[in-house]
Symmetry: C2
Subunit: 337 residues, 2 copies
DNA sequence: TCTAGCACTCTGTGTTCCCGAGTGCCAAGT
DNA sequence: ACTTGGCACTCGGGAACACAGAGTGCTAGA
């Protein structure tokens, strides 16, 4: 059905259209890529490709434009991920190496990725789920309030102000802190609920209301948060591109954590470190955009996802190369800290 | 030079132009606002206003449009800040009340403000400068690394991973922590450098390199950071409006902390809690936009600034009302925690 | 199966034309 | 001295139109 040459034509169409942003016609194609056939032959092939739904024409007698299905075939079978240049690699390395804490790593990563791809970059904060407790701190603020600070081995720090149900002396707080640390230090976050389950019973009865309050906040902190937190950068890169779905919608989606989360992908459970590409209508919500994403994290410990969002008409090989490279470097940085 | 009626005409022009986004002509003006004079008279006044530079016409024989100078006069003398409706007040209150920590307060604030004004909201993180140290924590990560956690009375938590120049035993770290806390607890951040100046001398000589490293990071943490950190929300609201300076520039400025900082205003030192309005060309960098900002913070303790950014053609009274109200509520929230 | 040629069909652009909103000015009215 | 009605003038923007050019589909021939 689709012989070798037709595929070559499709590849050429995608490449030309991506770089020129104009429907590409048979003559230009036969000229620029050395297909060694005449425009007329190309036209026949194009007709076939259109028949199959890989390309389409905006209006009669204009050039052809790839459809989502066309891009899909291109990504799956006609292109190779393009590795970064040496200069780019070095830039990534030095830029990420300067990060001082997890926040900083994430911020730098998202900016770097945006700049590298000239698109909108999206980075999900590493989830706490697989990390372990490094330290728990309870800081008395006044006699009815304490601040809970949870430090994990990924360098993440969580903080919560807790309103106690009754006045508790500092000494008791200190004691509780010691108990908590003894109990939790080094444990995986997912095992925390089990470990603290019987804690109230092991403490003086009069402390129990306070302890219960503190523990409930602690558990909340563990579960709730961090698959939700997502940051983006490079919105300015949207200004040039035209989205079928309207710039406004894209910007709105970017500011809506939930939508963004879904776009980044319900972690494709089989091989999370593989590149995921979602093209146009394959996306939930934002139909007119494409997303290139991947998991990242230290070692085989998948922590979160990152990627870029751009117009369907995007340079997939380059973008995929950048996303993959950045994900690797970040994973490396995270593993080291 | 500018009698009462001319001012009324200017006010009417600004109001009409803001609401319709079309140059306003003499006839429409005389009709809609009951000026009780004929269009011809209005035309004479308009000519005078144009002579003085308060309004201008996009092209000969179109209606008039306010200039930056015209908006300035309008804001200074012709308008009153419009208070929020009861429903809006209640919405603010409930929305902000749910915040769990400082991060959350800031995030909620910026979203709230964006939604309320239908513009881009910008919020600077409270600076540490005026706050006091609540607690300093040193957590050993391994024998060459410690994490420094600094907790302030505003609920802010700062964290840094520190690479030590040599191996230091945990006990020494614990001791240093105790010393630091004894020394700094409750002190204003600005006095920290003085307080720790002679600290190395009061400790065993063999610890000095490590202590010096830790202190330098501590000082860096204090000084460097937080007048820089700024967040924004509501970029989607830019999609509708048209900026003379180009959407791309605005988006770029928003992602550039430094520029944003300058736009928010080098804190007008005299009365920081007053509303600052910068109109069009009065702004550094972004000439085509207006900014309404104010300081916020607990009590007379000005901590940071927040505001909104929008097109010059903006409903100033309403926007100013929203900014002022939000700043007050946030200050209140911060004071309580 | 490929190629060359040809007629056809569009879009985008440039031109012209005209309507109408809005102005500036002047002379008359209060 | 200010206000008003009248009037000629000026543009911008939309409609109508023509036209060049790019690109196609089709058919006949190599």
């Amino acid at each position: 059905m689709l012989d070798e040459r037709k595929l070559a034509v499709l590849r050429a169409i995608v490449e030309d259209y991506v770089s020129t942003n104009e429907p590409v016609g048979s003559k230009a194609l036969a000229d620029r890529h050395n297909l060694k056939v005449s425009p007329a032959t190309v036209r026949n092939d194009m007709a076939a490709l259109e028949e199959e739904g890989y390309i389409t024409q905006p209006h009669t007698s204009a050039g052809r434009v790839p459809t989502d299905k066309g891009y899909r075939l291109f990504v799956d079978r006609l292109s190779q991920v393009k590795p970064l240049s040496g200069a780019e690699r070095r830039a990534i390395e030095t830029f990420l190496a300067g990060a001082v804490d997890l926040d900083d790593v994430v911020t730098r990563t998202v900016r770097l990725l945006a700049q590298l791809t000239r698109q909108v970059a999206v980075v999900q904060y590493p989830t706490l789920t697989r990390s372990t407790v490094r330290h728990v701190e309870l800081v008395p603020l006044n006699d009815r309030r304490v601040m809970l600070v949870l430090i994990t081995n990924t360098g993440r720090v969580e903080q919560r102000v807790i309103e106690l149900p009754e006045v508790v002396e500092e000494a008791r707080i200190a004691h509780l802190r010691a108990v908590l640390n003894a109990c939790l230090d080094g444990c995986g976050l997912s095992s925390v609920p089990d470990l603290v389950a019987d804690l109230p019973e092991r403490l003086p009865a009069e402390d129990r209301p306070a302890v219960a309050t503190i523990l409930s906040v602690l558990l909340e902190t563990l579960v709730e948060r961090h698959d939700e937190k997502i940051v983006f950068a490079g919105a300015a890169n949207l200004a040039g591109a035209d989205f079928s779905t309207g710039l406004r919608d894209v910007l709105e989606a970017l500011e809506e954590q939930v939508v963004l989360m879904r776009l980044l992908g319900e972690t494709t459970s089989d091989t999370p470190s593989a590149l995921t590409v979602r093209i146009g209508s394959e996306n939930p919500y934002l139909r007119g955009t494409s997303i290139v994403a991947t998991g990242y994290g230290s070692g085989d410990n998948q922590l979160a996802r990152l990627g870029v969002l751009g117009p369907t008409r995007m340079d997939y090989p380059v973008t995929m190369g950048a996303v993959r490279a950045v994900a690797r470097y970040v994973s490396q940085i995270l593993a080291a800290s």
